[in-house]
Symmetry: none
DNA sequence: GTGGTCTAGACCACG
DNA sequence: GTGGTCTAGACCACA
C-alpha cells in the first residue's frame, strides 16, 4: 500500500503524513472514510504503532482527519477543513516556490501546464 | 554579509548552503572566485568552524564549489552546475503544492496571478 | 430527543450526561420524574446499553438523578443539587481563559460585550 | 517546580502544557527565555522524556514556544504568536463558558471582577 | 550538551 | 476491537 523509505532523512511519520494527504487530496480516501487502524497499519508496514500514531496525530492537527477514540480515524470532509489560515500559508509557500522555479529557468507555460495536471488529479474537490 | 536565523528549524549549515547557492547563481560570487576561509567566516558569523566546514563540504558535494587542499574553496563556474535534477525535483514539489492549493479551493486565476507576482520578484536577478 | 455527535472526541456517555444535566437544570425533566429506561433509550439512540448505563451511573454519582433498584432512574429535585462546587470550578476555568484572552490582546470591552451576548442566549432558560 | 497529578484523568503532557501556558501568559517565563531541557525536566519530574517532548511539541503547535534542535526550547515573543485564529476560537469558548456561568447563577458583576483579577496576572502582555 | 525519531511493550478508556 | 498515553531505552543530527 505504501512505499516507505526507511533510509530517508525525512522521518517515517512525515512520509506517512505526505502519503495520506496525497490520498485525501486526490480523493482516493473519501470524506468520512475510515483509515487503517493504528495497529493494523503498523503491522503491515512493520513500523512501530507509536510512529503511526504520530502520523495520524499530525494529520489531525493539520485538519485532514479526525479521530474518534475507540472507533478509528476518519477523513475530514473538505467542507469542514479550516481553510483560511491554511490557504494563506499555502500561497506564501507557492510564491516562494514559483520564484525559485522561474529563477531556475522554468518557463511560465510549463508552470501553467503543471496547474492543469494538478487540476486533473484533484477534480471535484474545489467545490466548497 | 549573511543573515542567519538562529531560531529557525533549518540547521545553520543548511542556511549557509542556501545563501551561498544564491550568491553563486546570481554571480555575486564569480566563477573560480575564492570563498572566505572557514576560520574567518566562522569568526565573522560567530558560528562554530565545524558548521562552516559542513556547509562547504555540502556545497562541494552538490557541485557548487570545489576545494583545493591547502589553498581554499572556489566557486564552480555556473555553466558546470547541473541544474536538471534540481528542476525536476522542483516541478514535482510544485505539482504537489498546486494540487493541495486547488483542493483547498484556491482558484486557478489566483495561482496565475501568483506566478506573475513571482516573476516580478525574480526579474533582475536572473542574469545567469 | 438527543443529538449525539458520534464524531466528537468527547465520549458518548459524557455527551449524554451533559444533555441530561441541561434538561434537569432547565426543568424539562421535573423533580422525581422517571428517566427513560436504559434499554428503551439505547434502542432509540442506537447506542450500546452499556453506554446508557454508564451515563446514568455518572449522573447518579454527580447527584442529578437517583436510582431505585427494580424501578428505574429518577430526577433529583434541583434544590437538592449541589451547585457550589461546580460554580467554583467554573470560576477557575473562566479566570484562566480570561487571562489567556487578555494575553492574546482581546480588549476588556470585547469581553464585556461577550458577556452581554451570553446573557441573551441564557435569558428564558434560567427559571430554576 | 511543577505539581503533577499522576493520578488525574488529564494526561501528564496536557497538565504540562497548561502549566507552561500559564507561566508564559503570566510572564514568569519571558520572551525568548529557554525552557528546561527535555531530559532535565524529565529527570526532575521523574517522568519519561517522551512525555516532556510531547508537551513541548504541543506547546510549539499552539505557538507558545519554538524549538531549535540542538539548542533547546524557547518562549515565543507574544508579538510573534499568530493570534487571529486563536482569538476567534478563544471567543467562542469564552462565550460558551460565560453562558454556562450565567446559567448557574454567577452574577455579571462577579465576572467583571474576574476580568480585573485576570488583568492583574497578565499585566503588560496585551500591548502588541 | 541539545532536540528529534523510533522501537518494544504496557495499561487504560471506550463501545 | 479501537485510539490514547506512558515508560524504558536506543540512535541520530546539530552546535
Amino acid at each position: 500500500m505504501f512505499q516507505l523509505d526507511i533510509r530517508s532523512r525525512v522521518p517515517i511519520y512525515e512520509q506517512l503524513v505526505e502519503k495520506f494527504k496525497e490520498l485525501i487530496i486526490n480523493e482516493v480516501l473519501k470524506a468520512d472514510e475510515q483509515l487503517p487502524s493504528v495497529r493494523q497499519l503498523a503491522k503491515d508496514l512493520t513500523v512501530n504503532p507509536n510512529t503511526i500514531q504520530k502520523a495520524y496525530r499530525e494529520l489531525e492537527h493539520q485538519g485532514y482527519i479526525y479521530s474518534v477514540p475507540g472507533k478509528g480515524n476518519f477523513v475530514t470532509p473538505p467542507s469542514a477543513i479550516n481553510k483560511e489560515e491554511k490557504v494563506k500559508k499555502m500561497k506564501e509557500e507557492l510564491l516562494k516556490l514559483l520564484a525559485e522555479a522561474l529563477f531556475l529557468g522554468v518557463e511560465k507555460e510549463e508552470i501553467i501546464s503543471l496547474i492543469e495536471e494538478a487540476e486533473r488529479t484533484v477534480k471535484g474537490g474545489e467545490k466548497s
